[in-house]
Each structure stands twice: as C-alpha cells, then as structure tokens.
Symmetry: C2
DNA sequence: AGGATGAATATTGTATACAATTAACTCAAG
DNA sequence: CTTGAGTTAATTGTATACAATATTCATCCT
C-alpha cells in the first residue's frame, strides 16, 4: 500500500459518503487500519488536503473537509462560470466516439440508481461533467473541473435536500442531445440551467453529520 | 524554518528565475542549505509539486518543472478561455478602490522595470491578472488563475523570445481604462488580445537551460 | 574501441524514536 | 454542582536510522 493508493482509497470512501464530513482522521488509527507507517499516512493526508478533501490544522490533525455554505456557493458559482463555456466548445468538437462515451455514462448512472448504489451514481454523474470538459480539448481546465466536481460531491453529501430523488438524469439527456447535434448555444444554455438547478436545490442551512467508526467504513 | 516557508522561499527563487527549469533539487542538499531535516524538505517539495512548480518522479527525485511546449500551449489556452470572462465580470463590479490597486500595480511594475528587476516586474505583472479575477468576486477561480499565472512565469522563463523588451505595460494600461469605465465587452476583448499576444510572442522551439549551483542561488 | 557487467556510491523511500503540542482528566476551591 | 489549575494521556511534528532503488564508474570480454 503506497501513499497514492491510500489517498485513492480514502478519497473513494469520502466520495461514497462512507465517512462523513467532519470525521477526524487520526494518523496512527489509519496506519493501524492499513498497516503502513504514519509517514505514508501523512503523505496521503497532505495530498488530500491539496485537493480540499480533508482539512489539516497544524498540531490538530486532519479531518474530512466540511465545506461551509460559503464554500458551497463559491464552488457552484465557479462551475456556472466555467462549465457552460466548456460545454459549448465541446459541442463544436464533439466526435461520435465522445457521444458514445457520454451515452454510456448516462446508462451506467441509470443502472447504478436502479441498483440503489447512490455513491456510484453520484460519481458517474460527476464524471459526465468532467468528460465534457475533456471533449473540449482543454486538459488543464478539465482537471480544474474535475476538482470542482469532487468538491461538489462533498457539498451534496452535506446539503442535498432530497436524498431519495435523483432528478438530474433528464438534464444529462438533454445535454447529450444538444452536444450530439453540435448546437453550441443550446448546450451552453442547458449547462447553465442544469448547474443553476443543482445549486438551487441545495439547502445551505442544514448541518449535522454523524461521525462514524473508521475501521468499519474502511476495508479490513 | 517550516515546510511552508521553505516552499515559499523555493517558489520565490523559481519565479525570480534564480534557479532554472530542470535544475535538480536533491533532498539532502536542500536540508544542508536550510539546516532542516529531509522530512521538511520532502514536505515542501511535495507541496510545490502539487503547484506544478517542481516535478517529482518516484525514486528519481525532484527538479524544477520544465514545461513542455505542449504545457505552454495548454496553459495559455486555459487562460484565454477563463480570464477574458473574469475581466468582463470585473468591469461590471469594479469599485474605485479596485481601480486604485490596479493602478498601483502598474506603477510598481514600471518602477521595477526601470530598476532592472526583471523578476519583480514579472511577478507584479502576474499579480495584475490575479487581482482582476479577485475583483470579479470569484475566489475559487481567482485561485485557479493564480496557479495559471504561476505556471506562466515558468513558461516565460523558458520560451520568452525577447528577454529585453517589456511590452505589456501598454496592454495593462488599456485594460485598466476599460475596467474603470465599466465597459465589459471592451475589457473582454482587450484581455483576449493581451493573452493572445503573450502566447504568440513565445518561441516554443527554443530549449536549453543552464543548471546553476543551488547554494549560490538560495540564501546563506 | 565499444558495450556489457557488476560492485561501489549516491539518492530517495519508509519506519521508528523522540520532542512538542494539544486534549482529557482529576480533584480541590468556591 | 461548576469552575479552574495542574497533571496525565493522546496526538501530531521532526529528526534520524535503515532499506530500497538508482546512478556512477571501473573492469572485463568480444
């Protein structure tokens, strides 16, 4: 188990909401669970801190990031500023293969929802957005979008109003259609609307996340 | 000397072009120079790697990042995609204080050029762009722009065609005027032009950076 | 001479010991 | 009871020792 794979594992657990925002991540606890030295654990935690997935406070340790309402606002504001433009560019460059990939994403997402795998559905839903940025052939911005999507996942874990409903499928279908027909302006508009909807369906007042037992949430 | 301040110090040295892209950064050499343990050095290097200022290859150590022509293209492509939009938003929100800050930036930059402090001039020129993103009240994107500007500094160090001329002052003046008069579309256009000019005045073919002695380039 | 081989050296990767700091607890005073 | 100081335990920060890997250099064979 290397530092990178540990970070990957923790990241997956955070995104799947197996460990709640705010959960303390003590170094020797993690080093016990994964049977590595604290050196490795620290390295992984620092990497996750750079991705804003965990908070590190000097002499006070690490915990799963717990975005404030302000953070949530800022992240979605940024996405609304960037992603419609990327979607518009993607519509112009879209190749048949790209469309096929997106279609597959939607199908997988649908399957995950049916299987009741909320975490997987959310991950795929996010990847849909990253894939669009990649289609626009903007590798650096695509990476930035990926980081925003990751942070959004945490935010949704905290502030999503209706945990049951998964209402975005329609929006993704509409985006796919606009992309396939190379309609840049329509794609731009749809993406703006989609992100605005997402943002406005957050309840930035709710709080309170239960802290779970790490050994249970993480494998072994 | 903490890890953060070491990273800051190295970052400044890189941006001031006191250590050239490609220069090897051996851990015990740095730990000697700064009189800290390798633990601290490693932490600082990892932080800089996240900022893409240094390259780390497993078992092969760290070196100052040496962006490829492809990297240079991607970075400026990203800036051209983002910054005009930010500038347009900034033009709408610009407050008198903001304008004053930008005016000061330009003055300082001019002074640095006259003083022959090329590194300082470049830094201030970059801050001008970051400040605009901040004016648009987009903290997250402002941070992203900051990272792009930092990478641009490295790229300019490698690929800038005419090391003597400092031709951007005019562009910044024009941008300032457009911002002050709240002319969004004009600001957007000027920023696009400015970045396009910058990009096209790079010579992506030149290579070859001399490796310098670290102890000389870094203090003590 | 040119290239392969393998020791010797240099450099990075990881674990662990110890120091510094923070959090938890005890117990007495009000 | 509650509050606070002082002590103990838990946790993170840093240095260092050792292991693993890469690089260098001398040597040998063709």
């Amino acid at each position: 188990m290397t530092a990178a794979s540990l970070a990957q594992d923790l990241s997956a657990a955070i995104h799947a909401h197996r460990i709640a925002p705010g959960t303390k991540l003590r170094e020797d606890e993690l080093s016990d669970i994964y049977s590595v030295s604290r050196t490795i654990v620290r390295s992984a935690l620092q990497a996750l801190a750079h991705q804003k997935l965990v908070d590190i406070q000097r002499n006070r340790g690490a915990s799963v990031a717990s975005p404030t309402p302000r953070d949530a606002h800022d992240v979605f504001e940024a996405r609304i500023m960037i992603e419609p433009q990327m979607a518009q560019a993607a519509a112009q460059k879209a190749m048949p293969d790209d469309i096929a990939i997106l279609r597959q994403h939607i199908a997988d997402e649908h399957a995950a929802v049916l299987a009741g795998d909320r975490g997987q559905a959310l991950a795929l839903s996010g990847q849909f957005h990253v894939e669009i940025a990649r289609m626009a052939d903007q590798s650096i911005i695509a990476e930035f979008v990926r980081s925003l999507v990751e942070r959004s996942s945490l935010i949704i874990a905290l502030y999503w109003r209706k945990p049951s409903t998964l209402c975005e499928s329609d929006a993704h279908h509409a985006l796919l259609a606009a992309l396939a027909s190379h309609d840049g302006p329509a794609t731009h508009k749809l993406m703006t609307q989609h992100l605005t909807d997402l943002h406005s369906s957050l309840d930035l007042h709710m709080q309170g996340s239960e802290i779970v037992n790490l050994k249970d949430a993480l494998r072994r």
